[in-house]
Every structure is written in structure tokens, then in C-alpha cells.
Amino acid sequence: MTPRIALALIAALASPLSAQIARKGSITAADPWSRATSPRANIGAGYVTVRNTSTQPDQLVSATSPRAAKVEIHTMSLDDSIMRMRPLPNGLEIPAGGEASLAPGGNHIMLIGLKSPLKAGERIPATLRFARAGDVRIAFKVVGAGSTVAGVRQGGRQ
């Protein structure tokens, strides 16, 4: 393998998700992504990793997106193989000097009342509102619905 091909491969593997980081004050929101939804679906979930470099905790209190009638912050638990999803009415704390991961199987951003289905390859704009840091603008990168979580971590599959 020539070095050039090796570099291209590394770039291809590392690309889509690691590229996106939004920053505001002490808050960074990294790798926002979402799964494509079926043609008849009107809800979708968004995932993102939020870090807080401040010595004070912050709170993700709400979110909005022009693509959805309503956006909520949800949590999901899997207890004895029973899946339960609930809204977090007070949002999600981002600990001081720590991070909160919104990821499959746990907390997520819920896009409710989608104006149109989410298609692989799209970027869905959204604004995350933090109690201290204020608004952070992100865009969920939509990957194929058939992407496994492991596949998404490796860069997603269209």
C-alpha cells in the first residue's frame, strides 16, 4: 500500500463523525448524529456527546429544530430486558469538568413531529439550550437506519 492510499484510507475511516464539534463557552457538543427514519415515521432520535470544561455544572434544558414541531430530552433504560423511554422534564446535567453522552440505549434528543422523514446523508440543524452556556447550534448527521451502533462509531454507513 502506498502512503498516499494509506492516508486516504485513514481519512475515509476517520471522517464523517469526528469532524463536527460545536463550542460555546465551556460547552462543546461533538459528533451529533441521527438515524434515518422510515418514510411514514414522524419521530426521530438525535445523539451527541456534550462536554463541560467549566468548574460549574451546566444543564441541557431544552432543544429546538426547524425540522421538528417539538424537541424533547429523553432518557431510556433497559431493565431486565424491558425498554422504557421517558422525557427528562428538567433536562440533563453536564457535570463540571465532565461529559454527558447522548447515545443509543440511553439519553437522546427526541425530534417529535418531523416535517419530513430524516434521510441518510442529510444534516438536521438543531439548537441545544444550556442554562449557563446558552445556545449551542449543531447539525445531526443522518446515517442509514440499518447502521449498527458499532458501524456508526466506525464512521457510519449510508
Partner: protein
């Protein structure tokens, strides 16, 4: 008989969950439970999940437990508006199915909607169209679905949300049945892929 009247006043979900838990405990420990008047289990509870059912697929064709006989199958209960566990599980099933290669056609993958209130045949077809595997999508009469959930030991509870909508708490485990329709095993998402494929392959070649 205090315990009986208490059990009757329990919310339905708790009772189903208790049934599920006892069914699984029996599955693991066998029928070794000592006779206990407060905890007498019927023959039905001793049996593994499964049983007869009569539903329709996304084309409106009737599908019963008899229709599925002849091939082992993996079955998952979910709903099309489930944003996370259901697509993740179906994506995984599609991947495992693909990894079976030439053996893939020797088993069926079945999705049963636990949301008859929302999921019409078209919704299920649309949901399943996102996954790269042939999946039999089933729905049916709500009472028949309830009966099947109970005999397959699947916990399902409709939970109203503050925004006026609802979500459905449900068992997110894949159940495996052999070619005779007998319960064989369960699968969860944490099992390594290769191991899961080997298990499916064993089921096909059993």
C-alpha cells in the same frame, strides 16, 4: 388468601412482569421450585414462551404459528415509532441474517408490532423497508396481540406522555424458535456478532 387478593389489585403491568420473571426463572432453573401454596405455578407458566397465534403480515396475508413451522425463526416485538431499541435491534437482526450467507433463507425473521393503535400494515412495511433483510412484519386484532404477548411472555405497557402522546414500554429481547415452533433461546444486543451468528447457524442445522 391475602396474597391472591393483593395480586388481583396489582396493576396489570406488574402482574405481567411478575409472570415474565417467573417464566424466565423457571426457564433457567427448571421445574425445581418447591410446592408453595402462595406461589403455585400452573403448567402454562412452566412452559417456555410461545404458542398459537393468528395475525396478518404487511400484505394482509394471515400468518399463524403453523405458517412459520418448517423453519426456525427469530421474533422481536416492538413498535415503528420506537426511536432507538427497535431500529437498533432490527438493524442487528438484518446484519446477523446477512452474515448467515447461504443459510439465511433457512430461517425467518419476524417483527410483531405491539402498537396496533398506531401501526397499520403500511407503517410496519415502511419501517421494515429500512432494513436490508426480508422480515415478516405482523399486526392484528388488538386482543389477539395481547394474547400472543402474554403467551410469548412479552411485557407491553402503553405509557401516556406529558406531551399528549404515548410510548410503549416493552421487552426488547429477541426470542428464537426452532423449526417445530418450540422456544429455543433468547438473544440480546450485547452478544458478540460472531457468537450470535454461530447460534443461529446451530438452530438452522439442528
Amino acid at each position: 388468601m391475602m396474597s391472591v387478593s393483593n395480586a388481583r389489585t396489582q396493576p396489570r403491568g406488574v402482574a405481567i412482569r411478575a409472570l415474565l420473571a417467573s417464566g424466565l426463572a423457571v426457564g433457567i432453573a427448571g421445574c425445581s421450585a418447591s410446592p408453595d401454596t402462595n406461589n403455585r405455578t400452573s403448567a402454562a407458566e412452566h412452559a417456555g414462551p410461545g404458542g398459537g397465534f393468528k395475525l396478518v403480515d404487511t400484505k394482509g396475508q394471515t400468518v399463524t404459528d403453523q405458517t412459520l413451522k418448517g423453519k426456525p425463526y427469530a421474533i422481536f416485538f416492538g413498535f415503528t415509532r420506537c426511536p432507538d431499541v427497535c431500529p437498533t435491534t432490527m438493524a442487528r437482526m438484518a446484519l446477523l441474517h446477512k452474515k448467515l450467507g447461504t443459510q439465511a433463507g433457512k430461517m425467518n425473521v419476524v417483527f410483531v408490532s405491539v402498537d396496533p393503535e398506531h401501526d397499520k400494515r403500511e407503517d410496519i412495511a415502511s419501517f421494515l423497508s429500512m432494513f436490508d433483510a426480508p422480515v415478516i412484519g405482523l399486526t392484528g386484532d388488538p386482543a389477539e396481540l395481547k394474547r400472543m404477548e402474554k403467551s410469548f411472555k412479552i411485557y407491553v405497557e402503553r405509557v401516556p406522555l406529558p406531551n399528549g402522546d404515548y410510548t410503549i414500554d416493552h421487552t426488547a429481547r429477541i426470542l428464537l424458535f426452532d423449526r417445530d415452533g418450540q422456544f429455543a433461546d433468547t438473544m440480546d444486543a450485547k452478544e458478540p456478532e460472531d457468537q450470535a451468528v454461530r447460534r443461529l447457524s446451530r438452530l438452522i442445522n439442528a
